[in-house]
């Protein structure tokens, strides 16, 4: 009995499920406006045929053509007999037309015979309204085909263009010369497809380089063990802005120092030879390869100072290197002629180095000062008594909280221009200090907080949010930032590549074997060493394979990023579709298909070889 009941219930459920599915699909049909009547309409079918036929003949090769034209007068409607008699006899030395009858009513059909044209060729036979025989306006499109003697006979229906003046019928018979040649479209398609491939290459390179460090931060298994006491976190947070500021000032000072010496190539060369040498010596002294006993604080201080000095020297060297690249680049650009782009490249690399050094230097300094202060905080929390640590927490945590929220407030001010410091400065600062106070009050002073997990969650959230924005949308923003062209496309695709690769990479990091990490950690290695010796070797193959895959995606993406002005072949494609120039569009689609298929093949071969 019971079994029976369940089976009935099951059938009812299945029935209800089926009905539900049907309803869902019915609604879907309505929403997406499925309409087959429209498809059957003759007008649609004619257009469809025209488009498909055009698409089937991509505009790649074409013959060069020569043409013979004859414009023959005709009256519409018939005028007085004197006018008709005044018509000149046709010039039989060249191509000519004989129209019978010589005049007719609009809408009548006349017979047109042509003589002395190219044999076995064809071309349009058209009515030219108005008295000007060479007017570009032409009506109708009858195709006239000549026989072996260069003659044709065709009937032309005259349009509704009555006029008292003389009008004309024009026959244009064309024939091909020589072998087919690449069309203008083919040339521009080639140019743009090359641009597309390099756009994808640059975007993938930028994306990969920046995604790798991000992927470690976004990997749960690496971050879950990172815990630090409140004092350390607070000091580190306070250290970041200070470090960024100091770093920026230091880089700026070096840039100023380097600027007057930048224009002479010998000085550049000397600087970039001496700087690495000095750094090498400094590192040899300040970073001994093995240390059996912990060094004394004074020695540490001296080493720190030497390292800072060598970093300054390094920055100077970098600016000189940038100047050298720019100097050489601009000279080579002139000297190399056709290969001037190599000089241009060198110049741009120098420029990139010069622009990015302050930003990267400031960030690196922020990270250094942040982690150094963090360590001091850690040490303090370990060494001092709980009561003092609590006092320290009460002092530092509110300051850190105020800093974080104050900076966020500043960002809000920049973005939304609120203009009222109460909301963008004072309230955030107050709330931040309150949160800091609460943390200091409600945690035990020596307890460690899960810093790693917090950073992990924030990184993940940012990655996911950014990833959900399509690269096409990003391209629109970058087009506004850097102007229409492939560079906007590179930036948009690059950004999208960073966030999506960082996610894919981090999942690979999460799936590595924990054993080697444990073993390396057990030898006394610190976090950095553990990552380099136990994590990196395990993730190289999947990283390579994902990078290839991403390049593949970027090539495909870069074909449409041009729709919004991001450079690449999409620009041409969209233009030609909008101009109803389907043969040209077909050429571009063909190019995309060839490149994507080739990329697919190359990447699969490379993956097999490398992994």
């Amino acid at each position: 009995m019971k079994a029976n009941k369940t089976s009935i219930w099951k059938s009812v459920k299945a029935g209800l499920g089926t009905v539900l599915v049907l309803v869902v699909f019915a609604y879907g049909f309505q929403i997406t406006k499925v309409n087959l009547t429209e498809l059957r309409s003759e007008q649609r079918q004619v257009s469809l045929q025209r488009v498909i036929r055009a698409l089937a003949r991509p505009d790649i090769f074409a013959y060069q053509q020569e043409e013979l034209v004859s414009n023959t007068p005709i009256y519409l409607p018939c005028p007085g007999p004197d006018l008709l008699a005044a018509l000149p006899a046709p010039d039989t030395s060249g191509p000519f037309l004989v129209i019978s009858p010589a005049c007719a009513e609009p809408g009548d059909t006349v017979e047109v015979r042509g003589f002395n044209f190219y044999p076995n060729a064809e071309g349009p036979l058209r009515f030219i309204p108005g008295p000007d025989p060479v007017s570009p306006v032409a009506l109708g499109n009858v195709i006239a085909a000549t026989d072996g003697e260069g003659q044709f006979t065709a009937s032309l229906t005259l349009p509704e263009r009555p006029s008292s003046e003389v009008q004309h019928v024009r026959a244009t018979i064309r024939r091909n010369i020589g072998l087919p040649q690449l069309t203008e479209t083919a040339h521009s398609t080639w140019e743009k497809i090359v641009e597309t491939v390099f756009l994808a290459l640059l975007a993938t390179t930028i994306g990969t380089i920046l995604a790798i460090p991000l992927s470690f931060v976004a990997a749960r298994n690496l971050m879950v063990g990172v815990r630090s006491p409140l004092a350390s976190i607070s000091l580190s947070i306070l250290g970041w802005p200070i470090g960024v500021l100091l770093g920026y000032l230091a880089v700026d000072a070096m840039a100023r120092l380097s600027a007057p010496l930048a224009s002479s190539i010998p000085t550049n060369l000397a600087a970039i030879v001496i700087a690495p040498f000095v750094i090498w010596l400094a590192m040899r002294w300040a970073l001994p390869q093995e240390e059996l006993v912990a060094p004394r604080p004074l020695v540490r201080l001296a080493r720190g100072l030497v390292l800072i000095l060598s970093v300054l020297v390094g920055l100077f060297g970098l600016f000189q290197l940038a100047a050298l690249a720019m100097n050489l680049g601009s000279r080579l650009d002139d000297a190399l002629g056709n290969f001037g782009f190599l000089g241009g490249f060198l110049f741009q690399v120098g420029e990139i180095l010069r622009i990015t050094t302050p930003a990267l230097g400031a960030l690196a300094a922020g990270a250094t000062v942040g982690s150094m202060l963090g360590r001091i905080g850690q040490r303090a929390a370990e060494r001092m008594s709980a009561r003092w640590v609590r006092l320290l927490n009460f002092l530092l945590a509110p300051a850190a909280g105020a800093t974080v929220l104050g900076l966020l407030g500043l960002l809000v001010e920049v973005l939304y221009q609120v203009g009222r410091p109460v909301y963008t400065l004072w309230i955030p600062v107050l709330v931040g200090s309150a949160v800091g106070l609460a943390l200091a009050a409600f945690t035990r002073p020596k307890d460690t907080l899960p810093t790693g997990l917090v950073i992990y969650s924030i990184t993940r959230t940012i990655l996911n949010a950014t990833r959900s924005v399509e690269a096409l949308v990003m391209a629109i923003v970058f087009v506004i930032a850097v102007g229409i062209g492939p560079f906007a496309g590179v930036l948009a695709l690059g950004l999208h590549t960073i966030v999506s690769l960082a996610k894919l990479y981090s999942e690979q990091v999460e799936s590595i074997l924990p054993g080697p990490m444990e073993a390396v950690e057990a030898t006394g290695a610190n976090r950095l060493q553990t990552i380099i010796y136990a994590v990196v070797p395990q993730i190289i193959p999947p990283y390579i394979s994902y990078t290839m895959y991403r390049w593949d995606i970027n090539v495909r993406m870069s074909t449409i990023i041009g729709f919004v002005g991001g450079g690449g072949i999409g620009f041409l494609l969209q233009q030609n579709i909008n101009l109803l120039n389907y043969r040209a569009a077909a050429a571009q689609m063909l190019a995309i298909a060839v490149v994507v298929a080739a990329m697919d093949y190359v990447s699969s071969v490379l993956r097999q070889k490398v992994v």
Binding site: Q289, E518, E521, A522, G524, Q529, Y533
Partner: protein, 250 residues
């Protein structure tokens, strides 16, 4: 001397893996740790170099409190304890030599690790250790191309690179056949006797315990149930350690 005092470890789920375990290991002893799977042997060994953070209790190494060490101090302590694992825990895609050199990571400056550089004398030393365990010819092969016994020798060479004062061996022969098991145990014995390195080794088979260990401790559900000489484990003691239904094998 290693002193373990009232060591307790409670995992996040509330599992009491170690329950007030206390014992002492004099310098140069070969101590076997026995017990059923899940009795807390691995946790005990991992608490000693704090791969697993103890919940309560103290571990003293020559009087220095390991449980209270800061991360920086812990790095200096860990580098004196070599560790050998049941599943070898080598980095499969790296060459054998790099795996062995990894044993030096606690000594070298982390900044140089970024460049993957080790001092020349460390490389020579790594080759000597590989010779000592008899696989110097495999130095440049990938670690996963080696057989199980060879991989465990790499693991031992890696531990030797640390100039260890103590070796923690977590079931070093459990994934190897009996012949290989003896050859690996002989290496550990040689290190123990020639270099005077203290060895803590968890083992499954009692014949290995009888053959190699100076002293035995036994764990059952996190509690220390036996401490004494290997020869004194009779049938009654065996049933105390492994449970009433256990039968002796090997």
């Amino acid at each position: 001397m290693l002193q373990v005092i009232n060591l307790t470890k409670i995992y996040d789920g509330g599992v009491r893996a170690l329950d007030r375990v206390s014992f002492e290991v004099p310098d140069g002893q070969f101590l076997a740790v026995i017990g059923l799977s899940g009795s807390g042997k691995s946790t005990l060994l991992r608490c000693i170099n704090r791969l697993v953070e103890p919940t309560e209790g103290q571990i003293l190494w020559n009087g220095e409190d390991i449980t209270a060490a800061t991360p920086e101090e812990m790095r200096r302590i860990r580098r004196r304890f070599g560790m050998v694992f049941q599943h070898f825990n080598l980095v499969n895609r790296s060459p054998v030599l790099t795996n062995v050199l990894a044993g030096r990571l606690g000594y070298v400056n982390p900044a140089w690790s970024l460049l993957n550089r080790f001092p020349g004398h460390d490389v020579e030393k790594a080759m000597r250790q590989l010779e000592r365990v008899g696989i110097a010819d495999k130095a440049h092969q990938r670690a996963d191309e080696l057989s199980g016994g060879q991989q465990q020798r790499v693991g031992i060479a890696r531990a030797l690179m640390q100039d260890p004062e103590m070796i923690l061996a977590d079931e070093p022969v459990a994934s190897l056949d009996p012949v290989l098991a003896h050859s690996i145990m002989k290496h550990l014995e040689e290190i123990n006797q020639q270099d005077g390195v203290t060895v803590l080794c968890s083992l499954h088979f009692l014949d290995l315990v009888h053959r190699y260990a100076d002293q035995v401790i036994a764990l059952n559900e996190g509690q220390l149930v036996y401490e004494g000489l290997p020869a004194q484990i009779d049938d009654q003691k065996f049933k105390d350690i492994y449970g009433r239904d256990a039968e002796r094998v090997g």
